[in-house]
């Protein structure tokens, strides 16, 4: 038997390109998450969600599976570098991200004529609500916590919309350059 017959088939160039692209997006998303954590924030509960722009780009360019793995991957890598892995912050962030990505995928498949802006809006609102739900159930255990939710949801609407518009713009520009 020849030596080459035992080797696994070589992946196609398109497959390798997609993997490299996904890895590049993962590094970018993790970097943005770390950058955002080091910026002065508007409050302990609120972030701009810049890393979610990359998740949206992955959703539009590589598909739902890649977006899902990228979102989970960036939370783990980001927490590892920030030293918050397996802390309450990590648990809150991971559960909120899982909820947000689930809603993103449902919206992607089920809501007619939705763009990345609508998907980002729903993800931002879900992320914020899930953060409060996890904090209330696992850590603080006081429903008084929810008093803070409505103003933060208004801010989430604004950031979700802006992030979605940015993701839509970047995706279209990338598609135009790849033609």
């Amino acid at each position: 038997m020849s030596k080459t017959s035992n080797m696994p088939p070589r992946p196609s160039l398109a497959s390798l390109q997609a993997h490299a692209y996904w890895l590049g997006l993962l590094v970018l998303a993790s970097g943005l998450q770390i950058f955002e954590a080091s910026m002065p924030s508007l409050g302990p509960w609120f972030k701009l969600g810049l890393a979610n722009i990359i998740t949206l780009i992955a959703l539009a360019s590589l598909g739902p599976k890649a977006a899902c793995t990228l979102a989970i991957g960036r939370v783990i890598i980001g927490s590892f570098f920030m030293g918050t892995i397996f802390t309450p912050t990590f648990i809150i962030s991971l559960s909120a991200t899982l909820a947000a990505i689930s809603v993103m995928l449902l919206a992607w498949y089920l809501i007619p004529r939705i763009s990345l802006i609508g998907i980002s809006l729903l993800a931002a609102l879900t992320h914020m609500c899930m953060q409060f739900f996890v904090v209330e159930h696992l850590f603080i255990q006081q429903s008084a916590l929810y008093y803070l939710l409505p103003p933060l949801l208004v801010l989430s609407c604004a950031t979700g919309w802006l992030n979605g518009a940015l993701a839509e713009y970047i995706t279209t520009q990338l598609k135009a350059r790849n033609r």
């Binding site: 398109a14 390109q17 997609a18 692209y21 409050g43 302990p44 959703l59 539009a60 360019s61 590589l62 598909g63 802390t87 309450p88 912050t89 809150i92 992607w108 498949y109 809501i111 007619p112 004529r113 939705i114 763009s115 802006i117 609508g118 809006l121 729903l122 609102l125 904090v135 850590f139 603080i140 255990q141 006081q142 008084a144 916590l145 929810y146 008093y147 803070l148 939710l149 409505p150 103003p151 949801l153 208004v154 609407c157 919309w161 802006l162 979605g164 518009a165 940015l166 839509e168 713009y169 995706t171 279209t172 990338l174 598609k175 790849n178």
Partner: protein, 145 residues
């Protein structure tokens, strides 16, 4: 790569300016409208349930540790025992604040003073919550557990 689109995605002609992207599709705008209406209703509902004399409630998990009026005659310092240690809570003319906490992040101490009904301060690692709630017709100096 760069060719994934949902079956039902918007296929309108792409605008070339960034600000034009902010408009979104009709579906996006309807979703935004629904979200804003839902938030406004919940905000209004909370405001109706929060009216009254402002009181500061200090909790550790489910346990109410203390209740103080928001505007005491003299400044109050309360030490709340949390999971990690003591959180120092100060109530004075400016409002209520967490001045020191046993947590590593210290985000709670950076939150500053809170003075409106509905405001909260939380130290998640130490599981301490300070909440300003309205309560009607309660002539109260202080209650502690």
């Amino acid at each position: 790569m760069l060719n994934h689109t949902p079956n039902n995605a918007a296929t309108e002609q792409a605008p070339d300016k960034l600000w034009q992207w902010l408009k979104g599709t009709w579906t996006d705008r309807i979703l935004l409208l629904i979200a804003i209406i839902a938030i406004a209703i919940s905000w209004q509902w909370l405001h109706q349930h929060l009216a009254g004399t402002p009181l500061v409630h200090i909790y550790h998990g489910k346990t109410l540790l203390a209740t103080y009026p928001l505007h005491p005659e003299h400044p109050i310092h309360f030490q709340a025992q949390g999971d990690l240690g003591i959180s120092d809570i100060s109530i004075d003319n400016e409002g209520v604040s967490i001045t020191h906490s046993a947590c590593t992040t210290q985000r709670c101490t950076l939150s500053g003073h809170r003075h409106r009904i509905g405001d909260i301060l939380a130290c998640v690692p130490n599981r301490i919550l300070v909440s300003i709630q309205g309560q009607q017709d309660i002539p109260l100096d202080a209650t502690t557990e």
